[in-house]
């Protein structure tokens, strides 16, 4: 059964002063910071203050482990620092002055020290190391480390006093730990230092150098620690930035936009994109299987009739309605489709998006019926405002095309029963049940689109048949594929929130529900 070696550190005061590589308050603390605290605790606990022996094998084992999952109390970084003036250790200068009858003061010898802290909303941070091979040696190392952990007294600055403990916990127990979850993630730009093979040896060498930094021949600078690695971390409340490429849709042989009606032709545009992508992929050497799955979204073979979904690792072709400022009041209004985005909702598909950028630029969109070219794709900048309406970070989003619910919203036929003669209480009960069902389906759609369960749990959702954006039509009027017609459609507004109700900025593109790979359920940023 999967389990974790969990090291829990509790801050005795709700502040942390440790600094990261950017000199900003570091929260959560890095795995390397914890490792260094364990090294110091081991040296102190077994009174081996110059050279580690007792805990050395266990520390060497720990430095080889994969980076831990970190579950940490949310924290607010202090936006400003305050400055202290701390006395330098030059009392001999002051004493010398006094001995000569002078009046020097230690206040004349001070060093500036800037303080900037992270304010913790709770006291605990947990580091969860996955337990792979549960052999006797590993178990002994964990026992040694558990003893050492109880001797961790500080984490961060000397004023960051902590109490720590360690134990093996089950997956269920890990799920029950409260706090923000920080997952190791290769592509995240938010990095933390972590130990690697040789870190404990390097720390011991550095300690020795530090103890000898003042010698009879002068000061010997202590070299910085270099035996560590940088590991990307991402909070589960943070959505991944999806790679995408944007194209303008132009008339043939001109640089004028070719517009398509959003309500009736969005599906047609997506279909043409799929067609041209398949054609170009075939000519550039893609296998039929790859074309079938990644471009067309068919997991089944040509001989099979039943559709097999392929999951998120496939292209999504998202026709983008223009959001135009109209009228004297300068109101933003959703207009016709003039651009399209190619993206994916799966991880690790950057190379395919890069291929689309190169291969699909200047290709002609061909009508699926007449086979005649009707428009040409022109690569467009990602920073263009018309694109950023769909891709920038925002905490508030609303649909430009409605979300097709990923399931029946009324399997028990509550709406039919609402037409019967029922009392007010029953009516309330039925409506509440309907709303709960729709809410659950929308949160399910959010998770299906690749967002974390944490984000899906805390997002605030509104839905209705009428669009939130001016210029959108009633949800039921948008043309969808035949297999989606039986599912109800709603316009939806999302306000992304974290567990504390704080706004979370999420990057686009965001597309939810049935037909999302063809641009149904497409959201534009409202802020």
């Amino acid at each position: 059964m999967p389990a974790h070696f969990c090291v829990t550190v509790r801050f005795l005061q709700p502040l942390s002063h440790g600094r990261g590589d950017d000199d900003e308050p570091e929260w959560p603390p890095s795995p390397l910071r914890l490792f260094q605290a364990l090294v110091a605790a081991s040296a102190a606990r077994w009174n081996e203050r110059k050279e580690l022996r007792r805990a050395l094998p266990a520390l060497r084992w720990l430095e080889m482990q994969p980076p831990p999952l970190i579950i940490a109390a949310p924290a607010e970084r202090s936006p400003v620092k305050y400055r202290l003036y701390v006395p330098d250790n030059v009392g001999d200068k002051v004493g010398g002055s006094w001995a000569r009858g002078g009046s020097a003061s230690i206040a004349d010898y001070r060093t500036e020290k800037n303080v900037r802290s992270a304010h913790l909303t709770s006291d605990a941070v947990h580091f969860l190391y996955p337990i792979g091979d549960d052999d006797r040696v590993s178990a002994e190392h964990r026992q040694t480390l558990s003893a050492a952990t109880r001797s961790i007294t500080h984490l961060g600055w000397g004023i960051d006093m902590v109490a720590a403990s360690a134990s093996v916990i089950s997956e269920d127990e890990a799920t029950g730990l409260s706090g923000e979850r920080w997952q190791p993630e290769v592509d995240s730009a938010n990095t933390r230092r972590a130990p690697l093979a040789g870190t404990v040896h390097a720390l011991m060498e550095r300690h020795g150098a530090f103890l000898n930094r003042i010698a009879t021949d002068g000061f010997r600078p202590v070299p910085s620690l270099s035996a560590f690695r940088l590991v990307g971390y991402r909070r589960t409340t943070e959505a991944m930035t999806r790679p995408f490429v944007a194209f303008s849709i132009l008339r043939m042989d001109t640089d004028v936009f070719r517009a398509f009606d959003t309500v009736n032709q969005s599906r047609r545009v997506a279909g043409m994109m799929r067609g041209i992508a398949s054609s170009v992929a075939r000519s550039t050497g893609w296998s039929e299987e790859a074309i079938n799955t990644f471009i067309l979204g068919h997991g089944e073979s040509r001989e099979e009739t039943k559709h097999q979904p392929v999951g998120p690792r496939r292209f999504a072709f998202l026709p983008l309605p223009s959001i135009e400022v109209r009228g004297a009041g300068k109101q933003a209004v959703v207009g016709s489709i003039r651009r399209v985005i190619v993206t994916t909702f799966g991880d690790g598909c950057e190379s395919q998006v890069d291929w689309a950028r190169l291969a699909m630029s200047n290709q002609a969109l061909t009508d699926e019926g007449s086979k005649e070219p009707v428009a040409v794709l022109s690569l467009t900048g990602e920073t263009e405002r018309a694109i950023r309406n769909y891709t920038r970070r925002s905490s508030r989003w609303a649909t430009v095309t409605p979300v097709v619910l990923p399931g029946y919203d009324d399997p028990a036929h509550y709406r039919r029963r609402l037409n019967d003669k029922i009392d007010g209480q029953e009516k309330i009960r039925l409506l509440t049940a309907l709303n709960d069902r729709i809410d659950r389906l929308l949160r399910k759609a959010i998770v299906q689109s690749g967002f974390s369960a944490t984000l899906a749990e805390h997002v605030e959702i509104e839905w209705r048949k009428v669009g939130f954006w001016p210029g959108t039509d009633l949800a039921g009027r948008y043309r969808v594929a035949d297999y989606l017609r039986r599912f109800t459609r709603y316009h939806v507004r999302l306000r992304w929130r974290d567990a504390r109700g704080g706004a979370v900025d999420v990057p686009g593109p965001i597309c939810l529900g049935g037909g999302r790979f063809c641009g149904m359920g497409l959201f534009a940023a409202e802020e």
Partner: protein
């Protein structure tokens, strides 16, 4: 005589990690009284003034007294009559002045004491710390083990602080104030002083600064932004959080001798409990006199914090801590009181041995660390 074993549970490896006191305070004028937090200098993007984190009009935290400032208020108690026998009183005389080791910013690692006849004693003590024996250091400078020390000028031995205390106010509203200095006499109108003829420009405005302003001979309004801090109203209350790190105390050894280690730990625990249960003066600065808030169900909370995070109520009074410390100090045998002279020659040799640079420049270069 106090039972020296009564707190041995705090010295066991499976004992609590720390003791925590939380005191709910208020200005002496009342919970709605104005109090004046510490002010900090401007620089490096900080405009200066009070340290307030968060929404200035909503949820925020304001620093009233920092860890270092609280430590500076607590540590000198061991020079007071009631407590002075608990620790050796080490005085360093330089010329006509003298300073207690209890007042030296870097404690046993302070340069003023290493340039005295205690230099070798302290060096030996710090070297023993590095070899896992803190007994010698406890004989001469036991408060260094309580409040932390770093021998930055010599052996580099370091011991962490056991006690940290901070006072914060919550959800504060910042106030401003203005004032005007009014001279006792209108010197110009009374003809006592003549204003310089070139004082004003063609429009009658004073050019530059009024020469009388610096000497107090004219009206001076207080308008500069750094001078108009008017205190805060702490709508969310004021609180002192103090911690005594027992897990850190259990990392003190007298080498491999278990009996001596126990005596050492009991003694330092006693000093720690005495300092921990001592309420430093509520008078922090002008406009900031704090007292316990009687409206709280528990104005003073005292808990044991275990490694699992569990908190259990506990209580140790100041008197009980003092009695315990007297007993453990007697068992440990407190070091001798000593008065030594600052040795100029030793200081010169110390500087020469370290490459001949002035200690001031060297100190700035290595940033030898902070005081409490």
């Amino acid at each position: 005589m106090s039972d020296v074993t009564q707190f041995d549970g705090y010295l066991k490896d499976d004992g609590p990690a720390a003791l925590v006191i939380r005191e709910h305070l208020m200005p002496v004028e009342g919970p709605d009284g104005v109090l004046f937090p510490a002010t900090f200098a401007a620089g490096d993007g900080f405009p200066g003034g009070y340290n307030i984190d968060g929404d200035p009009n909503g949820t925020n935290v304001c620093l009233i007294d920092s860890v270092g400032s609280q430590a500076n208020r607590i540590e000198p108690l061991f020079a007071k009559e009631k407590y002075r026998d608990l620790v050796p009183q080490i005085i360093i005389k330089a010329g006509k002045r003298e300073v207690s080791l209890l007042d030296a910013g870097h404690r046993a690692g302070d340069a003023i004491v290493r340039c005295s006849e205690l230099q070798q004693t302290l060096q030996d003590a710090f070297k023993q710390v590095l070899n896992g024996n803190a007994e010698s250091l406890a004989k001469i400078a036991p408060t260094s083990l309580v409040f932390g020390v770093w021998d930055s000028r010599d052996t580099q031995a370091k011991l962490p602080r056991l006690i940290a205390s901070t006072i914060r106010a919550f959800d504060v509203r910042k106030l401003t104030r203005h004032a005007q200095f009014i001279p006792a006499v209108d010197y110009v109108r009374e003809g006592i002083l003549d204003e310089p003829e070139d004082l004003k420009d063609a429009e009658g405005k004073i050019k530059g600064k009024h020469p009388f302003a610096q000497r107090g001979f004219t009206h001076i309004p207080v308008t500069k932004s750094e001078n108009v801090h008017g205190g805060v109203l702490a709508t969310g209350g004021v609180r002192r959080d103090a911690t005594l790190g027992l897990a850190a105390l259990r990392l003190l050894f007298a080498g491999k001798d278990e009996t001596k280690t126990l005596l050492l730990r009991r003694y330092i625990l006693g000093l720690g409990l005495t300092a921990f249960t001592y309420s430093p003066t509520g008078y922090l600065r002008q406009g900031c006199l704090l007292v316990l808030d009687p409206s709280k169900e528990k104005p003073r909370e005292f808990v044991e914090v275990w490694p699992t995070g569990e908190r259990r109520p506990a209580t140790v009074t100041g008197e009980a801590a003092l009695e315990y410390t007297r007993a453990t100090a007697k068992e440990f045998v407190v070091g001798e009181n000593t008065t030594v002279e600052f040795d100029k020659e030793r200081a010169r040799r110390d500087v020469t041995a370290q490459g001949g640079n002035t200690t001031g420049r060297r100190a700035k270069k290595v940033k030898v660390g902070e005081s409490s």
